[in-house]
């Protein structure tokens, strides 16, 4: 069982890295990029009986800091 966790800064939390990427894209001539948000993807290789609830617990306890980040769990078979 595999799971993929997407962690993003919450809306409203300034993402200076995303902003820097947006500026760099503009400098390369890519017009019309109105916003860039940068996050991370964490892939988990899990025991067969692992549940989405387990992964949610992992996110709450370690993988995301819910003060500033939101997360999304994707269960893959």
């Amino acid at each position: 069982m595999k799971a993929r966790v997407h962690v993003m800064l919450k809306t409203g939390v300034l993402d200076p890295q995303g902003e820097a990427v947006r500026h760099a894209l503009g400098a390369l001539g890519f017009d019309g990029v109105n916003g860039v948000r940068q996050g991370k993807v964490i892939e988990l290789d899990l025991a067969e009986d692992a549940s989405e609830a387990d992964v949610t617990q992992m996110c709450e306890k370690l993988l995301a800091n819910t003060v500033i980040e939101s997360y999304q769990v994707e269960m893959l078979s």
């Binding site: 800064l9 939390v13 200076p16 890295q17 370690l62 993988l63 800091n65 003060v67 500033i68």
Partner: protein, 222 residues
């Protein structure tokens, strides 16, 4: 007074902090992150700066789940004193001992320089050696020092006089210019600037000395 300084893989201000504690008159013990017990009779635990666990995942996130950190939490819950500096502040927010989080500096750069730091309250064991309104010169050295909390938390911190220090020239985008905050019982301090690096004439400044001196005189048993 007895102080313990936690040492994580990647801590690099642990010895500076120990020297500052000792200069203020404390007996200091270093405590490795895998230890499961703090030394008996510890009054204050110092969580030092550095790059614990290489800042992997998020600054302070892995250290917040280290065996010794559970002991740190119990110590704080018992009313023991804790000071977290720089990465130590990040660890304290990750453990939930202090509210908020430290984000990447708004200017994206690692900043290492002396900054003017305003004492916002003298009502804590850490800051009673200063007067509210004093402006100190203390070095910062961080990449993720941009304090963030929701508006309600910021309002509560300032309403409860729990903002210990602010920047007079905000270097990193921190909300409400916050450089250091206190816990509800005022016995846990987290701050991004490094008072232990301004605690000896050899450092080029001694504005941090009063923090350690006051602390040694002002701590009352948990």
């Amino acid at each position: 007074m007895k102080a313990a300084v936690l040492v994580f893989p990647g801590s690099n201000c642990d010895r500076d902090l120990a020297v500052a504690f000792e200069a203020a008159g404390a007996d200091v013990e270093m405590v490795w992150h895998k230890d499961t017990k703090l030394p008996d009779g510890v009054d204050i635990v110092g969580v030092p700066g550095g790059f614990s666990y290489g800042d992997y995942l998020r600054c302070g996130a892995i250290a917040a789940n280290s065996p010794i950190t559970h002991e740190l939490k119990s110590h704080a819950d018992r009313g023991g004193y804790v000071i977290g500096i720089c990465n130590g502040f990040q660890i304290l927010t990750e453990t939930g001992l202090l509210p908020g989080a430290l984000l990447r500096n708004a200017g994206l750069k690692y900043i290492c320089k002396h900054v003017p730091l305003k004492v916002e309250t003298s009502a804590s064991a850490f800051t009673e050696g200063y007067n509210a309104g004093d402006v100190l010169s203390i070095p910062i050295a961080h990449h993720e020092g941009n304090y963030f909390a929701d508006d309600e938390t910021i309002k509560r911190l300032s309403g409860e006089d729990r903002v210990a220090f602010t920047y007079t020239e905000n270097p990193n985008g921190a909300k409400a210019d916050i450089a250091g905050i206190l816990s509800e019982n005022r016995r846990v301090l987290g701050m991004m600037p490094h008072p232990e690096r301004a605690a000896d004439v050899g450092h080029g400044g001694t504005d941090g000395t009063a923090l350690f001196r006051a602390l040694m005189g002002a701590m009352t048993p948990a």
